[in-house]
Amino acid sequence: MSETATRLSAFAGLTLPAVRNRLSVTVAPDAIRYSLRGSPAAAAALGAVFGPVPSTTACRATSAGDRAALWLGPDEWYLLAPDGDAAALAASLSAAIDEPHALVDISHRNVGLILKGPRAADVLNGACPLDLSETAFPVGMSTRTLYAKAEIILWRTGLDTFRVEFWRSFAGYIVGLIAENAREHAV
């Protein structure tokens, strides 16, 4: 029997930008990620076992401990849990839901970056068209949106901290673009 295959991060070989104390960019740790699609009732049923109850308010994330559920659409949530046996967790979650739904493992489809620092919003606004002021995009807000020509999920986890999740093949583009947009903040 062959040895177990090791993981290779989509960020391997990429240099993450940083601007002194104004911006740090780190890779979010490996995690279980699911796409949950179904009715709010299905989401509520899942919440009962998952921890955070997925929000029915648009564009809001709920979290409990190290688990989170991000509202992406009226029948779609993005679930995050610490790395582990994704299939087993999925089975136990699905078992708790009577409603028709889909719980699909996308742990490897998506990757995440954490942008932190007083210039994080500005660097994001270098290519994201949303209003990232605290009033328009408060802590706890989550949504799919764009970073230039790439689709991202943007989640504000703190006043100056954002988590950006996206499909792994875009890693080079997004890291490159963040670096380009961060450059002027060094001055």
Binding site: L72, G73, P129, L130, T143
Partner: protein
Amino acid sequence: MLLVTCPYCGPRPEIEFRQAGEAHIARPAITCSDDEWADFLYMRDNHKGYMRERWRHVAGCGRFFNVVRHTVTDKFVASYKVGEEKPAIPAEAAAGPRVEIVR
């Protein structure tokens, strides 16, 4: 860049959306005539004035929804979900003179 109001997410920039053509064009039954099928596939009001059209918040909540928008001013006047009652089309304001003159 237009500001499109998604009935789920609120006002968001146009680039997050795809316009998906005239709204409320029902897919006829398979037994329909060639004319009816052509109407469904290709014929469009292409109205100058208020138009009901579909958009999809593709880089957002992913939903298709309907709007009423004016195709001359490009202004949106209503957004509504699939299956919701159609909001009324506002009366067309009389076009004033291009240049008003004061003395």
